[in-house]
């Protein structure tokens, strides 16, 4: 619950910053230090941190540079949400705070901690290398600098928003799957990969895509939208992730990986019955062996509770399925035509 806004009409007040501290060279475990300072309306969290460092405790470590939301250095968790300290207004943070006049500052999640609010960005950089997050030019090196490499406005619009990414790693910090598996590609790298893959000047689209569909790649995203919701540049990151998946299905087919097979089941079931045939979904996604090995004990319990989905013949089709199926198939023809004209 938030504190009523009329309490935030003051021009100046004392605010306590509870800051995460940990120096692995001397501390056995992390702790919080509280600093209460007078803050004027209009001051950012970064300016408050600078004040604390300059006037109260010079030992606090954090990264910052441009102070204008451009360089992406000062991302940290402010009252639990990963964001840039230089664009976070103290008054706005307090308006959404559970506790009055208290702001908790912690380092980003899902990256190794170096000291206090500084995390190690190397694992992210390593992933950018693994997934070739750059344009590998189709232009021969000898021609470079001699002629322009033009792209259409339409093409640019496909990755315009994605180029806004400043690699602040807020999305990395908020990612559900990365929290559970540090080897996961991460939303920032998926966004960069999408941006490079839709660029017609790039020569390694297929190679990058082949890496993206492997384990720990694009199919492991769980669609929680936390990355998109926390993006400091409001980039629709899930559109990029879905864009890679759409591309993978179009170029590599629907049987390529368990993720693609799982997605394909929705398309075919809707056409057949208008309903998802859940009973065979695990088998169609991962095969019989995986299903028996992984789901049999649970299936027994579900049978005892009469909770198992009905076998395919007993799944009732949606009413009026025949007419619907006709429309669905007509749309399939539209899509085929679109692909043909797209290729031309």
């Amino acid at each position: 619950m938030t504190v009523p806004t009329d309490q935030h009409n003051e021009l100046k007040k004392d605010v306590t910053f509870s800051i995460f501290r940990f120096n692995p060279q001397v501390d056995s475990k992390p702790y919080f230090d509280d600093y209460t300072i007078p803050v004027e309306r209009g001051i950012t969290v970064l300016r408050a941190l600078n004040y604390i460092k300059e006037h109260i405790d010079a030992s606090i470590s954090f990264r910052a540079f441009c102070q204008a939301g451009i360089c992406g250095s000062c991302a940290m968790r402010i009252n639990g949400l990963s964001q840039l300290a230089c664009t976070a207004q103290v008054w706005e943070v307090l308006a959404n705070s559970r506790e009055e006049a208290l702001i908790r500052i912690e380092p980003l999640r899902n990256l190794p901690l170096i000291k206090d609010l500084i995390v190690d960005m190397d694992p992210l950089v390593d992933k950018m290398k693994r997934y070739s997050n750059w344009v590998d030019s189709t232009m021969p090196e000898a021609s470079m600098g001699k002629k322009e490499f033009l792209i259409s406005e339409g093409e640019f619009l496909r990755y315009d928003k994605a180029t806004d990414c400043i690699l602040c790693a807020s999305c990395v910090s908020e990612c559900t799957i990365l929290r559970a598996n540090k080897a996961y590609v991460s939303p920032a790298v998926l966004l960069k990969s999408y941006r490079m893959n839709v660029d017609s000047r790039d020569a390694i689209h297929g190679q990058r895509l082949a890496e993206l569909v492997k384990d720990n790649g694009v199919w492991d995203c769980t669609h929680c939208y936390r990355c998109q919701e926390s993006c400091v540049k409001t980039i629709p990151i899930m559109d990029a992730i879905h864009g890679i998946r759409e591309d993978a299905i179009e170029l590599r087919g629907l049987k390529d990986t368990s993720g693609a097979k799982h997605a394909e089941a929705f398309m075919s079931d809707i056409e057949k019955k208008g309903k998802l045939i859940e009973a065979t979904l695990p088998i169609r996604t991962n095969g019989v062996f995986w299903t028996v090995q992984n789901l049999l004990p649970m299936a027994v319990k579900m049978i005892m509770k009469r909770r198992t989905p009905p076998p395919p013949p007993l799944v009732k089709s949606a009413k009026g399925i025949k007419i619907f199926r006709g429309l669905f198939r007509e749309m399939t023809e539209h899509v085929k035509q679109d692909h043909k004209s797209h290729k031309k």
């Binding site: 559900t176 799982h262 509770k305």
Partner: protein, 282 residues
């Protein structure tokens, strides 16, 4: 009696039948009537949109058009169906070309997507239309001895550009419902986190870790049960609970209820009537 069109989610017709069964018990008690759309089809479950964006638009334009034909808002009781159908609506409303292409097909079935019906979660209807005061008055068995962990799930909150009912950073509608039913809502950090459902078949270990974290926090808070507005979250947190906690080396368990069951209990229906005995964890 306020009428709504009711979208039949695939999972509620197979694994979580107790959701629709419990809503059927109490809908009239709260002055609402849900007209089931038997012609509706699977929304594509947050997958069809990238397999084929045009089929995704067609299928969900049709789902909404069925409600529009009745002149009613479309009510959904699965978070992912809600997010998916609302995403399609946003795309259709923003693209006259897509809307025309889809409507040219739909007219063969005597349907038209106009964009006049809202797509809303059952939880939102309870809060905004039925109202917390009415709910409080109708409660027969207040949940006063229960400590309840509200698990909202992702797709009733995010993306906020598509959902927009609750603050995704600090949602409150489910907490308000719990309090109106007389229960004690707990400060549950996982309230707006993910259950891991959508990767259970493609990245199972990660999904189990995600579910175990949510379950553990609720048990640390000494919650009597978790409640969720989404049958997919329920499947992850109830159906996969034993596996998730075993994987995490935890020997505890916690029941997980649907909002429809929690409302039913407070309105005086018993666990058997509401289908609570169908849960894997009791």
């Amino acid at each position: 009696m306020k009428r709504y069109a009711y979208y039949l989610s695939c999972i509620n017709e197979s694994m979580t039948k107790e959701v629709d069964r419990s809503i059927d018990l109490w809908q009239k008690d709260l002055g609402i009537e849900l007209v089931k759309l038997h012609e509706g089809t699977c929304c594509g479950g947050s997958n069809l949109d990238y397999v084929s964006p045009k089929h995704f638009a067609l299928v969900n334009a049709r789902n909404i058009a069925l409600a529009e034909k009745l002149g009613l808002d479309l009510i959904v009781s699965c978070n992912t169906c809600l997010m998916t159908i609302r995403s399609a609506k946003k795309k259709l409303d923003e693209s006259p070309e897509l809307k025309k292409e889809v409507n040219d097909l739909l007219k063969k079935e005597g349907l038209e997507y106009r964009g006049t019906s809202e797509v809303r979660h059952l939880l939102w209807v309870l809060i905004d239309d039925v109202g917390l005061d009415t709910i409080r008055q109708k409660v027969k068995v207040p949940l006063k001895n229960y400590r309840i962990a509200p698990f909202y799930g992702c797709h009733i909150l995010r993306p906020s550009t598509v959902l927009g009912h609750d603050n995704p950073r600090d949602p409150s509608s489910l907490d308000q419902l719990i309090e109106a039913l007389g229960g004690q809502t707990l400060p549950y950090n996982h309230k707006n986190r993910c259950c891991g459902f959508h990767t259970l078949l493609v990245a199972e270990q990660e999904s189990l870790n995600v579910a175990a974290e949510a379950l553990n926090e609720a048990m640390d808070l000494k919650a009597d049960f978790i409640v969720t507005p989404c049958p997919l979250c329920h499947t992850s947190l109830d159906g996969y609970q034993e596996k998730a906690l075993k994987h995490a080396g935890v020997a505890r368990s916690i029941p997980v209820f649907h909002i429809s069951e929690m409302v039913g209990l407070a309105l005086g229906y018993n666990a058997k009537q509401l289908g609570i005995k169908r849960h894997i964890v009791s």
